[in-house]
Symmetry: C2
Subunit: 375 residues, 2 copies
């Protein structure tokens, strides 16, 4: 289907493809925006999941302000499209400074992450012109063991003082991603505990810095589970930066962050082969269209819409191997050409594989969105 063939029925989609549900995306965005308003905090959506201008407009409520990105290509893409107040939510290296400097010129607010003396030294060695300062967040590790200085590390204050004492840097606050911790638990109570622990640990840092005369303007925490099932303490920080919530996926459904009816994306695929002896179907979506990032407890790389007895148990580059529960189904129930819709396990990983995001409203394809890609 060419871009000119919009308003086609979804049954005519080429397969494999990635299909978004516009109504669900808007609902997911609205709910998160309202939740933040209720807590009196700001939402800074992470654009690494959707990577499109269209989703950017929806999740910023049309303001095009206050987002996170995880690649320079995303930063440049959203800058070009009029977005501003952007956290480049990755640590930096020298080789990325020329492109960052160019972005800092174009944006009123570009923010960077640092967690090492070397990051600060490289920014000091490459100051911005026209009296501009590099806006710097300290990345802190509140338990996820990814980027960031550990929240209870003794050298933390010293590192912040290197920022505050620099003539070229502005200390903007603290940034943490509690991803690993929040993705490993299940249910609102446990996720809420992770959220509260994250807040406790980051406020512990805020206190320590205050005792040294350093104020944190912004405290940005985030991950979709804790943003969807926040603890009662989230009101004490200034902003959250979840990304995945616009689409959600089978993983978030398992964690309890969303219901199946909130998942706003599917991989569309068709049956190519039937193998009764092994109770298997082959479909035209392999790891190049679905991604291998995670499985449900039943061994399936996603959840087939309306087909609880089908499991995507294995993938090759272009083939998916779908097991039919022989007590419930026969492979003959799925003739060659049958269309299936898979909620992927991790929508961020699936979205990044597709250079076109088809957009569904009711039974029609109403748009094709082009995500930013590469680095």
């Amino acid at each position: 289907m060419a871009a000119s063939d919009l308003s086609e029925h979804i049954r005519d989609l080429p397969t494999p493809c990635f299909l978004l549900n516009l109504k669900r995306i808007k609902r997911n965005a609205d709910l998160m925006i309202q939740r933040c308003q209720a807590f009196g905090i700001k939402l800074r959506p992470h654009m690494k999941t959707a990577k499109t201008v269209e989703v950017g407009l929806i999740v910023t409520g049309g303001s095009k302000r206050r987002i996170c990105v995880s690649t320079l290509a995303e930063a440049e893409f959203f800058t070009k499209n009029g977005f501003d107040d952007i956290i480049y939510a990755m640590l930096i290296s020298d080789s990325k400074l020329p492109r960052l400097k160019d972005l800092a010129k174009k944006l009123s607010m570009l923010h960077l992450l640092v967690d090492n003396r070397k990051h600060i030294e490289m920014l000091n060695a490459c100051p911005l012109s026209d009296g501009k300062l590099w806006s710097v967040y300290l990345a802190v590790d509140t338990g996820s063991a990814r980027e960031g200085i550990p929240w209870n590390d003794n050298s933390l204050t010293e590192l912040v003082e290197l920022i505050t004492s620099s003539a070229h840097l502005k200390f903007s606050g603290l940034y943490t991603h509690e991803g690993t911790a929040s993705y490993s638990v299940r249910g609102s109570e446990k996720v809420g505990e992770v959220a509260n622990t994250t807040v406790d640990r980051i406020l512990h840092i805020v206190d320590r810095l205050k005792k040294n005369g350093i104020m944190c303007d912004d405290i940005s925490i985030g991950a979709t589970p804790t943003a969807s099932l926040p603890g009662n303490k989230v009101k004490d920080i200034t902003e959250i930066h979840p990304g995945n919530f616009v689409f959600y996926d089978a993983q978030q459904f398992t964690i309890g962050s969303c219901s199946e009816e909130d998942i706003a994306c599917v991989v569309v695929t068709r049956v190519l082969g039937q193998y009764p002896k092994r109770n298997q179907l082959l479909i035209d979506a392999g790891w190049s269209a679905v991604s291998l990032d995670g499985k449900l407890a039943n061994g399936s790389y996603g959840l087939f819409q309306g087909q609880p007895h089908l499991r995507l148990v294995k993938m090759h580059q272009e083939y998916g191997f779908v097991s039919c529960d022989p007590e419930k189904l026969s492979v003959e129930d799925f003739p060659i050409g049958t269309m299936l819709f898979l909620y992927p396990y991790h929508s961020c990983a699936t979205a990044v594989l597709h250079q076109q995001h088809y957009v569904q409203q009711d039974d029609k394809v109403v748009d094709i969105w082009t995500p930013c890609s590469q680095w």
Copy 2:
């Protein structure tokens, strides 16, 4: 680095990126071409790995003839670039017939796979014009449980007779992919056994068909392990269709298909963070640049060139988590900005993530190749 910045030193490459070694690609291709000549069989390289015109030229020895592809986009891309005699090495469904019909018009030889009566019926219902016939290979399963009718299935002859009796189809031969079987063993002896078993089973089919008066013009078998470590019987079939061998990877090195010095691709990445307490580095290559398709026995998603004591143990979207063996190394040995080169576990899965393939000769970037992508 823009396309205009060729002849830059590889130290100036943007990261993450995918870098090919031209000399090794040519050597891998030459060896496979010579091996086929020695056995008196044809090479039909599978283009799903490299997906570029440049590699297509190298592996067909400049002839642009006789390739496999695994997406319609690849078929169209190589057709547009003057290639011909193409097996679309995937099962078909109705929705793909319009594009296949268009390809069949443009090519002198387009070949399709079928393994089900329904495939044959859909081709009969959509005949080619101008007296052309659909060229059809029967996909057979010689032990890998992917596509194909099982080699010892009783209904096999009947299925072939449906092809030979059709006024719209030409029976071209047999096609098998012994991937699963050959990837699960190690060393030349075991891989050679899989290769010989594949040949035995497919010749068993040839004999059965001959007894029914049906000749198989072409017998196409393939997978990189068996093509690299063929048994003595491979001379008895007509062609092999490996794909991965142009790049090889850490997996093929583990199987024994190649040496480390044959691996012709790396992910180039830089160190972004150092975490002495957990003996870890963060690098700027996550699953969006490396792929999650497989790990070495030591738990690493690839092999760091010249750094046997580093392991890529975990990935997020844009971050890789690299463990340093604390008895051999310190994270301080790898300052922020340090460039690392990773031989990926499965190069097909890595290549598909990159829309530009940088090409290295000695220390310089001499070209940027643009692969076909999507479907």
